[in-house]
Symmetry: C2
Subunit: 377 residues, 2 copies
């Protein structure tokens, strides 16, 4: 997954220290794969996955819309050339003054999941469109989401009725099937719930128009994943099944699926050692760890592909850890990671599939280490 352009960049620029290199051509290809696989859905890129200005500008120029988690992200999307009508303030947890700021910037689409949030939007962005997030089961996701976002479908009906009563436009329903979702039929039951909310509101004269089908589209780490095509087919089949001839506007919010495979982290082996003379395990310490951008290795959740110049030679399972004085800064230990026996201190390694959720998760200065640098090429 390391492209020739990324290899050339690292070879010619020799950037000092760990860094992420993102190939915009891959992002562009991903965007058009989604576009092609789901031509009837609007794509709202989840800015939080990687808000690099070059990525936002590229996507804005290709016609993407943007799912933003904060006023700062909204400002970034606007700066990248998006118009306010292509921006969704998708965080269900917003300060009222931030809703007002977003509204002043022209944003008119807000996520809610509670009566209390509806009241804030009604006061700070009168007349705006709202969609209510519904809790889903998350079955089949590599990381099912917590119950943090959304409410049960019956409560979503009440929330949207309340929004209507307060003068807002009750516009639709959203859900999220869970992160790194590799089962293409996962959207089916959530769409059934969405349809029920549509029907119940319709009986009360409120006609929803939109289903926000969220993100969850995976990127390839060590295991193969279904194609965008396969997701598109399964999702449109589920839409037809539940909505028949009245398919609403739909939105998808890819983040990891848009940029994950576009980025590679260049890192360096700082130390290779054992804990005792007869220790089975070699410990390989890199100059990047959990606090430098690889936070998603928490609980060894994501297993990133790691390439070295010695690939092809004899391998041995290793513990991999980061460079900080924090004993929790260990990437793979329970499930050790095979690395070449000939790997040496000072060697460069490439950590693939790191385009999403790395630069922004990076700690600001833990142990005095700089946040992860990024080059977008």
């Amino acid at each position: 997954m390391t492209t020739a352009r990324i290899i050339d960049f690292i070879k010619n620029r020799r950037p000092e220290g760990p860094c992420l290199v993102v190939d915009l051509d891959v992002v562009k290809n991903n965007y058009h794969a989604f576009r092609h696989a789901m031509p009837d859905s609007a794509i709202y890129y989840a800015v939080k996955a990687n808000p690099a200005p070059e990525i936002l500008s590229l996507l804005a120029s290709q016609g993407s819309s943007f799912d933003c988690a904060s006023v700062a992200e909204i400002q970034m999307a606007l700066d990248a050339g998006a118009t306010a009508d292509r921006i969704s303030f998708g965080n269900t947890i917003k300060k009222e003054r931030d809703i007002a700021r977003a509204h002043a910037l022209g944003v008119n689409l807000f996520a809610v999941d509670a009566h209390e949030e509806v009241e804030k939007v009604a006061r700070a962005a009168p007349g705006a469109r709202v969609f209510c997030r519904v809790l889903t089961s998350g079955e089949g996701a590599e990381w099912p989401l917590s119950r943090k976002f959304g409410c049960v479908p019956q409560m979503a009906v009440d929330v949207l009725v309340y929004a209507h009563q307060l003068g807002l436009e009750s516009y639709g329903v959203s859900f999220h099937v869970g992160s790194q979702m590799t089962q293409v039929d996962a959207w089916d039951s959530a769409l059934a719930d969405a349809k029920r909310v549509f029907s119940q509101l319709s009986k009360q004269g409120i006609h929803l128009q939109m289903v926000n089908m969220g993100g969850g589209f995976p990127t390839r780490y060590l295991k193969d994943i279904p194609s965008a095509e396969a997701y598109g087919k399964a999702i449109y089949a589920a839409l037809r099944k539940h909505f028949g001839n009245h398919i609403p506007h739909t939105i998808i919010e890819p983040g990891r699926g848009m940029v994950g495979n576009a980025g590679v982290i260049k890192a360096e082996v700082v130390l290779i050692s054992r804990k005792s003379d007869n220790d089975d395990a070699r410990w390989v310490f890199l100059d990047i760890g959990k606090f430098g951008g690889l936070a998603e290795t928490m609980d060894e959740a994501i297993r990133y592909p790691i390439r070295t110049v010695h690939d092809g030679g004899e391998m041995e399972p290793c513990v991999i850890a980061g460079p900080t004085c924090d004993s929790a800064d260990v990437l793979y230990e329970k499930n050790m990671y095979p690395l070449p026996l000939s790997l040496t201190i000072g060697d460069e390694v490439l950590i693939e599939g790191t385009g999403a959720y790395t630069t922004t998760y990076s700690a600001v200065a833990f142990n005095g280490f700089e946040p992860l640098k990024a080059y977008v090429i």
Copy 2:
């Protein structure tokens, strides 16, 4: 634990957004409590706990030395007025070029835990002092450390012999009993190990001079902790027990114990809601969470005291979560946190005991939110 000075600062300055306020008087008191309780040990403040320049300057002026994890931290300690002879490069995982940089800045004391690291120090800082970190059991610590740092005592002997052979000064042994260690006798067995390393090297004509007894000194969260005095008594008793009349130089490296209780985070309630009409649990969302500085709530490890203006009224267990669009950004859920029933959206809350490991753990821009601001008064 919120001092009058902190309360006045928040009241008069009304800082916008979540922020940490640190009272230097508390840091000063903590320093002198350690000084008084362990008069024969040199205090090396663990800079990583909170590297605010004002804290480093205060401690430098009081006579503290500094345990640094990186060249950047070494530079900060120097900038704060410390001399290089009061600085330890305490990270066992160092790039050779960083060892050279530290040495060029005058630093002469380096941690090692492997032959490979000794080789780097011998090349990049010829003749420097090294101490070898030994693995300890970590029993009794609220967070026992992983096996990331240190080697078994027998290997430490070999490592220090090797350092001697390569022309370094084999200076001592270090260990860390585990973070937030509330058992004052925890140092005993580690000191027994240290003494064995001293004895074995002595037989080979290498006379170690120093034991670095690490950190692990707790700060008070919701439960009471032993006083600095109690630690001092237990540690010196253990030193006498194992080293008799030949007690070596000793170092302690308090971080959390030095600054934890000196800081308070001011935060705001962004949303209070339920997931369904008959949901037992209220969800309280703050404008700070796991990615904004409260990383140590991971696995609900630290339970910070939280103060509100409604304290004293009727309480109810709540789920507490952060403001990001990340479903992992939940602070307390398995073990819900009692908060006043009358708590309201927009209320200010004070999260106490947050002086250590908050600002630097903070993500650089996750979801577009700024890193945690800090005011040191």
